[in-house]
């Protein structure tokens, strides 16, 4: 077996040194009834060629986004990943290192986490960010639980524009952790006013910007309303690139930002691993979940980095920890950091403009199809279309024509019949004019 360095003579020699005559002696503590005599019923070892053939065969049956005109977003976006990103994150010193608990042997990881935290704070317009969580959806649930701790209240009001998966994750946590979630109905193209639900028991209002249906809103007024009521404003961002173009949550008065960072540096990966971003205000830092890298000095007085404020975390605080999270999305955070370092301010804002321009071009084109209507007043790189017939069937028909047309909202809201005609469509810098031509043509055919 190519991954196992011990040879049979090694094994014999080692068993002799230990003073036992067989490996079974070392498993003597396992109750006899639970010992397996031989291998379980699974295939035997395979060489690299065979494994590659078998698994590549599975991959080849999937339609890769890059192989067709592709317009799907909804919390995971297809962007260009510069070659340097994937090269650098595969350096063994990053890829095969552990959580930086030994700071002297992990200054590389700790420094990029410090850079990552700074980038996230700058992008979101917040004061402090952590070293990542699993994904945007779990970051959202963690944000609500943090708001509960800060306010000592137990009810979260969720906007209908919050990604339905994020809402569902919050609802699962709510049931078992023990808090209440009041979710507004989805209202694509419409407006909503959560202020009426904010009461003395409300810990936070959770909004998403741009919303799940793509709409961009100013939440400054809502932030003031929340603060007056002693509640926090949590802003979810599922397309982090939008922060290169629109007013960041921090400037609108957000207290916590929970975001999905996949768009920078990370592939779609069928939904994971992705990258949970989490940012807040300095005054709440001790209630934050997850790891934090901080600056300090070493014994020679030189600047260095450590994990800090660890008494919030499970390995020290155990049942009183702010979260049970241990492993996070470290390497995805590195990919994010490298991609954003390559982009810089100029590149980020330009990339954001390219995305917005592509989405406008697409919207203007699709709006001209009879009976197709764009529902958004404002959007970044994703918007909602109302189609004259159920979007799910249209998407399937377009998939057969080799176009991945977007998300039929009914897939996420199966019981909302009034949403059946809504199609969520995204365009990015990867979308070409030819892609739009093919989408336009195929959609006209499918609707005719």
């Amino acid at each position: 077996m190519r991954y196992l360095p011990l040879t049979d003579p090694d094994r014999r020699e080692m068993l002799a040194a230990i003073g036992v005559d067989s490996i079974d002696a070392l498993f003597a503590d396992v109750p006899r009834a639970a010992r397996l005599d031989g291998p379980v019923d699974l295939p035997r070892a395979m060489g690299e060629i065979e494994v590659e053939r078998a698994i590549s065969g599975m991959a080849s049956r999937n339609v890769a986004a890059g192989s067709v005109p592709f317009f799907i977003g909804g919390g995971a976006y297809r962007h260009h990943i510069p070659a340097a990103v994937d090269h650098l994150i595969q350096r063994g010193e990053f890829l095969t290192s552990y959580t930086p608990y030994q700071p002297e042997l992990a200054q590389g990881t700790l420094q990029y986490l410090f850079e990552f935290q700074t980038q996230v704070a700058l992008l979101t317009g917040m004061e402090v960010a952590n070293a990542s969580l699993y994904d945007g959806a779990t970051a959202c649930a963690e944000a609500v639980m943090m708001a509960n701790r800060v306010t000592r209240r137990r009810k979260a009001v969720l906007s209908g524009a919050v990604h339905p998966h994020y809402r569902e994750v919050c609802e699962t946590y709510a049931r078992f952790v023990g808090f209440e979630v009041a979710a507004l109905d989805p209202a694509p193209g419409g407006d909503e006013d959560p202020t009426g639900l904010v009461g003395r028991d409300t810990s936070c209002v959770v909004v998403q910007n741009p919303g799940f249906f793509g709409e961009i809103r100013d939440y400054s007024h809502l932030a003031r309303h929340c603060h007056a009521a002693g509640a926090l404003l949590v802003v979810v961002v599922t397309e982090v690139l939008s922060l290169g173009a629109i007013v960041p949550p921090g400037e609108m008065g957000a207290d916590i930002v929970a975001a999905e960072g996949q768009s920078l540096g990370n592939a779609l990966n069928f939904g994971g691993p992705h990258l949970g971003l989490f940012a807040s205000r300095d005054k709440f830092v001790r209630q934050m979940p997850g790891r934090l890298a901080g600056q300090t000095v070493d014994a020679d007085g030189r600047r260095g980095w450590v994990l800090t404020l660890s008494t919030r975390e499970q390995h020290i605080r155990r049942e009183k920890a702010t979260s049970n999270i241990c492993t996070n999305s470290g390497l995805c955070a590195l990919a994010f950091t490298i991609h954003l370092a390559l982009l810089g301010e100029t590149g980020l804002t330009r990339l954001a403009r390219l995305n917005h321009a592509a989405a406008i071009a697409l919207a203007e084109r699709l709006e001209r199809i009879p009976d197709v209507r764009v529902l958004n007043q404002a959007f970044f790189n994703e918007f909602a279309l109302r189609l004259p017939r159920p979007a799910a069937a249209v998407v399937d028909a377009l998939a057969e024509r080799g176009v991945l047309a977007g998300i039929p909202v009914s897939r996420l809201y199966p019981s909302w019949t009034e949403l059946a005609g809504i199609l969520l469509v995204a365009a990015t810098e990867m979308t070409t004019t030819e892609d739009m031509d093919r989408f336009d043509r195929a959609l006209r055919e499918a609707l005719s």
Binding site: L4, D29, P39, N62, H165, G294, C326, A341
Partner: protein, 526 residues
């Protein structure tokens, strides 16, 4: 071919006096040969530079609703060579399993095969969207189903929940499922979860997050759960026992069948923390131990890389009694082949709901399956055997120099305490830092909490005998230095790292958690 570590083993011992150890440290640059000082990107970049050439956006009328971002964000601009050099230099300040033995107990730092990386990056996995039509991703469903089949076969459990993002998330999934099952049978009142003293911190944190009171169970003198203490605590108020097996002392809970029976007799569930599954994979099926629920860390047993802290993946194996509560989505074999069920309906009516966006850590599934297929049923069994053999080999090589906490064979990791350092003025931490100077990552320290000054060593199965011999020689030599009173070596360590001991107290008292630009206004005023 000779093993490199065998070669370096020859020049192990330097019998210099303590004072001779300090080499001149000062250089003009602060660099030391291959160790290059590296500033933050924020201190290197300048506005206007960019490492990516992007097309000019066409003219358009913005539809941002008047919410255009104003003012600079503050991100530095760097060219590609600057970025590549920056992160390459940072990488060179890290220790990694690629560069040496990484004996962190309970963390399972084993070799990460590169085939797995290659396969996870195939466009058919990396470049597919979680919400594209299911009909366009049949291969992805087959891969997930195949992974599930392997995990079910290896655990002997009938169901597997794949969506949890890492081990701790798997724990949440398991304890939530247990609570849902208890509620379904009308038992809302059970309020306690029993957790042994030696448990990972995630166990009590998880139980508390799910609304349970954590009740600690003491261990016995053999490093296992004290079954009488456990029995005394088991009553109709207990929802579950969370037990790690093999436990964090590196020992198999030899009374596990009695433990399972006692837990079940009290009407509670038996949760197993599967962090140490690598010790028994292919040789023991958790289902045969009476376990109802166990998370698997794909980044431990199944070799997906730790990546400096993540991402991981924490599938949860479930007994039939808990299977109906598995979180969404479910992958089921339907009339038309594999179906992805994303909402509660029919058989999924009792599901606890969604725990994570989309469908789980697909990138990790690909890597883990490639690892399992490479080993096969026979190879996985060998993995467990070699992991246990390596740990026991270190145990006997070190038992007369370090102080073994518990007698007898261990499983995949071996636990020492700091008795061997008594009266030396050297702590476990000092000892570990001296190990750094010798080119090794330290073992897990001060965990588990059940012995004083713990040193928990897990070599894994991917170390050669020569590598273990060298490591053992270094530890023995260091222990001897400690006994002989060479305290300066330990107290000053580490000397040869990019940074020496870091002031964690200062970091926590006045946290600096991000870079801030020099205050420009003040400069302007001067």
């Amino acid at each position: 071919m000779s093993d490199w570590s065998r070669a370096t083993g020859a020049r192990l011992i330097g019998d210099r006096a303590p004072g001779e150890l300090a080499a001149p440290r000062e250089t003009i640059t602060g660099n030391r040969g291959l160790q290059i000082e590296e500033n933050l990107i924020f201190e290197q970049g300048s506005l206007g530079r960019c490492g990516i050439d992007l097309a000019d956006p066409p003219l358009f009328r913005a539809r941002l609703g008047g919410l255009e971002r104003q003012g600079p964000i503050g991100l530095p601009g760097l060219s590609e060579p600057q970025v590549v050099r920056h992160f390459t230099r940072l990488s060179q300040k890290n220790y990694a399993i690629d560069s040496g033995l990484y004996p962190l107990g309970s963390c399972t730092m084993k070799h990460n095969p590169r085939l797995n990386e290659k396969l996870a990056r195939l466009p058919g996995f990396a470049d597919i969207h979680p919400l594209q039509p299911v009909s366009t991703v049949p291969g992805a469903l087959v891969l997930i189903d195949t992974l599930a089949h392997w995990l079910k076969t290896l655990t002997g459990m009938p169901a597997i929940a794949l969506s949890p993002g890492a081990g701790a998330h798997g724990e949440l999934c398991g304890i939530m499922s247990i609570r849902a099952a208890l509620e379904a049978r009308g038992e809302r009142r059970r309020s306690r979860v029993l957790v042994p003293e030696s448990a990972h911190g995630t166990n009590p944190a998880t139980a508390a997050a799910c609304g349970y009171n954590v009740d600690s169970v003491s261990g016995n003198l053999q490093g296992r759960v004290d079954i009488e203490a456990l029995r005394a605590k088991l009553d109709t108020d207990v929802a579950a026992l969370m037990l790690t097996n093999p436990n964090t002392c590196g020992l198999f809970e030899n009374e596990i069948l009695e433990i399972a029976a006692a837990v079940h007799a009290a009407g509670a569930f038996f949760y197993c923390d599967g962090a140490n599954f690598n010790a028994i994979v292919g040789r023991v099926r958790p289902a045969d131990l009476g376990i109802d629920c166990m998370h698997l860390n794909l980044h431990k047993t199944f070799s997906t890389p730790h990546g400096g802290g993540g991402p991981g993946s924490g599938p949860v194996a479930l007994a039939a009694s808990l299977a109906p509560y598995a979180p969404l989505p479910w992958l089921v074999h339907g009339a038309h082949g594999l179906e992805l069920v994303e909402h509660k309906k029919g058989k999924t009516q009792q599901a606890i709901g969604r725990l994570k966006g989309f469908h789980g850590q697909m990138g990790m599934f690909v890597r883990a399956l490639a690892y399992m297929m490479s080993h096969g049923a026979d190879g996985l069994r060998q993995v467990a055997e070699d992991a246990v053999l390596n740990a026991n080999y270190l145990r006997v090589r070190l038992k007369s120099d370090l102080s073994l906490s518990f007698p007898g064979p261990c499983m995949h990791e071996v636990l020492f305490d700091d008795c061997f350092l008594r009266e030396t003025g050297i702590t476990t931490l000092d000892f570990a830092k001296a190990l750094i100077d010798e080119g090794y990552h330290p073992m897990t320290m001060y965990f588990p909490l059940v012995v004083h000054g713990a040193l928990l060593i897990e070599p894994t199965e991917t170390e050669s005998k020569a590598s273990l011999d060298h490591f053992a020689d270094v530890l023995k030599a260091l222990a001897s230095k400690a006994r002989l009173g060479d305290t300066a070596r330990f107290h000053a360590a580490p000397r040869w790292t990019p940074r020496r001991r870091l002031d964690e107290t200062a970091a926590a008292r006045k946290p600096v958690l991000r870079w801030h630009p020099e205050p420009i206004e003040q400069q302007a005023e001067q």
